[in-house]
């Protein structure tokens, strides 16, 4: 954990040094946090799934599907008549439903998580394209935009949503039995089953949770881009997985840290921000990202082996 904070601080120092203070302006920090917010929310959900030894490749497409579903003309008309919460509920419901389908396939259908969520990735994208007629759907419900594009205490609403979700995620992982069960299922599924944990039901809930965070992310994206599109959220799952892994959660499962995920998300966003401010090619950025992921995992493995060596 200390290593992550150090890395983040180092990036900030590099940012300030190379851009002469432009990095440290309130406007830029806000941009950085807003950039991190949506990936962050989705990464929180992903942390739980990975801690339990699974994976969810569909969160990006499900997010896109949720933005599309929540911004169709019929949903927006309903929102105009009844209130902006209609769009929020639709996005959350779509995310949750997709997540539960994933969970059911994985837990009860015994389909490997990789395959089931890969299938959902394709299916959700296709469904989003059909519903939207392959067009971009503009959000015209002003109350919705007013609420979610507002600035509260100087920070955009979506950043506050990220903060709330991160706090809730931390509480869920570290202070509830749900979190403890997640760690147990990931660490040793057989022992967990023998201890009386209902693995299948828990798995269902886990993927429902990831789907729900994708739905929350969809609401944030709708506010940020004022449009619903099947292209929104493409490849988001890779960013989320990268952030989770860099943050210290083991890909094989058994240990999870929400704080680590948050730091991981911030590290990547800061990196992107510093690169943009310095006008560096986005392709170079992508290479740097790959190097960081590999470096982080190698470090984790090294620390883990040292721990094992000293504890015996």
């Amino acid at each position: 954990m200390g290593g992550l904070v150090l890395a983040l601080l180092l990036l900030c120092v590099v940012g300030i040094a190379t851009t002469g203070g432009r990095f440290a302006t309130a406007g830029n920090i806000t941009t950085l946090l807003a950039l991190a917010a949506t990936t962050g929310v989705v990464s929180i959900g992903m942390t739980f799934v990975i801690t339990a030894g699974g994976i969810d490749l569909s969160v990006g497409s499900v997010l896109g599907l949720a933005t599309v579903w929540a911004s169709t003309l019929s949903t927006q008309y309903m929102a105009e008549d009844y209130g902006w919460w209609v769009m929020v509920v639709t996005a959350l419901a779509v995310g949750l439903a997709a997540g539960l389908v994933n969970g059911a396939l994985i837990a009860y259908g015994k389909v490997p998580a990789f395959m089931a969520t890969l299938a959902m990735l394709a299916a959700a994208k296709g469904l989003a394209e059909i519903i939207a007629g392959r067009r971009t759907q503009l959000v015209e419900v002003d109350p919705f935009l007013d609420v979610f594009r507002a600035d509260v205490l100087g920070l955009p609403m979506i950043v506050w949503i990220f903060v709330v979700v991160a706090a809730a995620g931390w509480f869920l992982m570290n202070r509830t039995t749900f979190g403890r069960r997640t760690v147990a299922v990931g660490g040793n599924p057989e022992a967990a089953r023998l201890a009386g944990i209902k693995i299948k039901r828990h798995t269902l809930y886990l993927y429902g949770l990831t789907g729900l965070t994708a739905g929350i992310g969809a609401v944030m994206m709708l506010a940020r881009t004022t449009a619903g599109s099947s292209t929104t959220g493409t490849l988001l799952e890779l960013d989320a997985i990268a952030a989770v892994v860099v943050g210290g959660t083991l890909l094989a499962g058994g240990r999870g840290t929400i704080t680590g995920t948050v730091l991981g998300v911030l590290i990547f966003s800061t990196l992107t921000n510093v690169f943009i401010l310095n006008n560096i090619d986005s392709s170079v950025q992508a290479i740097a990202k790959g190097a960081i992921i590999v470096g982080a995992v190698l470090l984790q493995q090294w620390f883990a082996s040292r721990e094992r060596a000293t504890s015996t």
């Binding site: 432009r22 406007g27 830029n28 941009t31 807003a34 950039l35 579903w69 169709t72 003309l73 019929s74 949903t75 008309y77 309903m78 639709t90 419901a93 779509v94 949750l96 439903a97 539960l100 059911a104 394209e129 519903i131 939207a132 007629g133 392959r134 067009r135 971009t136 759907q137 503009l138 594009r149 955009p156 209902k198 039901r201 269902l204 994206m221 940020r224 881009t225 004022t226 449009a227 599109s229 099947s230 292209t231 929104t232 959220g233 493409t234 992107t272 921000n273 943009i276 401010l277 006008n279 986005s282």
Partner: protein, 351 residues
């Protein structure tokens, strides 16, 4: 006392039933029918004697997947054009970004023995071979937008003017910024890996250097709303003072405008690209940073269909002195401003 298995089954099925009910409820929200009839906008109507019915022709049409508004407009305009003629049967292949699939679609048209093929290839080079096969089989091919790599692969090519688009945008910005040599000009490009983006950027740069300006900051989005928003947010962060921005594409422009609004900046004016109805309406209303847009006609494929019909029926194109149909038709990239927006609104496409 009920056994725990029954309780568990009940709980699980309960969850499923709840999910199913929720699904049914929200499935009512997938319609995209507008409440009022929006009244379809029609293109400019010019009828000539070429439009009178001739021999029956079957035209095969293949274009990439309509995953953004412009491409969707291409396909819709082509279909609408074909419907105007009773002597044309348009066979539309399912839009795809997979080069292999598109090649097999053309092979299917060749097998079928259509009278002409209108093709907007996902990648011009990759589809050149199969177009050559069609030409050799006696089927005239009309190449739209993305050029083949061989002149023998098409009877006629209908092109937009990517380089010219950049020039139009650069010239407009030069006119607006006058003699301010220190003006900060920014560019939001589309997918950098595509040759057309490089052409547009080159035209932009050349036009700007003609009046002593240059591109001070450039970011590349991906023609999508999300990437437009993200890249613009970063651009605005990096440049505290901007005088003019050229955004290559109005579809990603929705995200661009969202980012501009988010940042609360308006010290610059924005020039768009492609010509969506959305942007044109904003230009008309005059209360946003959008001052102009450069047309990249989404009617190219419709032109292709018209020309395919003329070629298949052995007719001559109207309004020219020469006989037959030209080899290349390169469309103009006009700049739409508040002065002439009424003229161009009918051909704007929905994002």
């Amino acid at each position: 006392m009920t056994s725990s298995t029954t309780v568990r089954t009940r709980r699980v099925s309960g969850a499923f039933i709840a999910a199913a009910c929720a699904a049914l409820v929200i499935s009512g929200c997938t319609s995209n029918e507008p409440r009022e009839d929006e009244g379809a906008a029609t293109g400019p109507v010019t009828a000539t004697e070429n439009d009178e019915a001739g021999d029956e022709v079957v035209i095969g049409f293949s274009a990439p997947a309509a995953d953004h508004g412009w491409m969707g407009a291409i396909t819709n305009a082509a279909k609408a054009e074909a419907e105007k003629y009773e002597d044309v049967t348009l066979q539309v292949a399912e839009g795809t970004n997979d080069v292999n699939v598109q090649i097999s679609q053309i092979e299917g048209f060749i097998d079928q023995g259509v009278d002409a093929i209108v093709l907007l290839p996902f990648d011009g080079a990759a589809l050149t071979e199969v177009a050559l096969d069609a030409m050799e089989a006696g089927i005239p091919v009309i190449n739209v937008d993305r050029e083949f790599t061989s002149p023998f692969a098409a009877r006629t090519t209908v092109l937009g003017d990517n380089y010219g688009m950049g020039v139009s945008a650069g010239t407009y910005i030069c006119e607006q910024l006058g003699d301010n040599k220190d003006a900060v000009v920014a560019e939001i490009a589309g997918i950098d890996a595509l040759p057309l983006t490089q052409d547009r950027s080159q035209g932009f740069e050349d036009a700007l250097s003609d009046c002593g300006l240059d591109v001070d900051a450039r970011v590349a989005a991906e023609f999508t709303v999300e990437s437009g928003e993200e890249q613009t947010a970063n651009l605005l962060s990096a440049e505290p003072e901007i005088d003019a921005i050229w955004n290559h594409d109005d579809d990603q422009g929705i995200g661009v405008l969202a980012a501009i609004e988010n940042a609360g900046r308006d010290e610059f004016f924005l020039v768009g690209g492609a010509g969506s109805s959305n942007m044109m309406e904003m230009i008309q209303s005059g209360d946003s940073v959008v001052q102009a847009t450069v047309i990249y006609p989404s009617t190219q494929a419709a032109d292709g269909v018209k020309l395919a019909r003329l070629i298949a029926q052995d007719k001559t194109i109207g309004d020219l002195a020469s006989i037959g149909v030209p080899r290349t038709v390169q469309l103009f990239a006009p700049v739409v401003t508040a002065d002439n927006v009424e003229e161009y609104l009918p051909i704007g496409f929905e994002s």
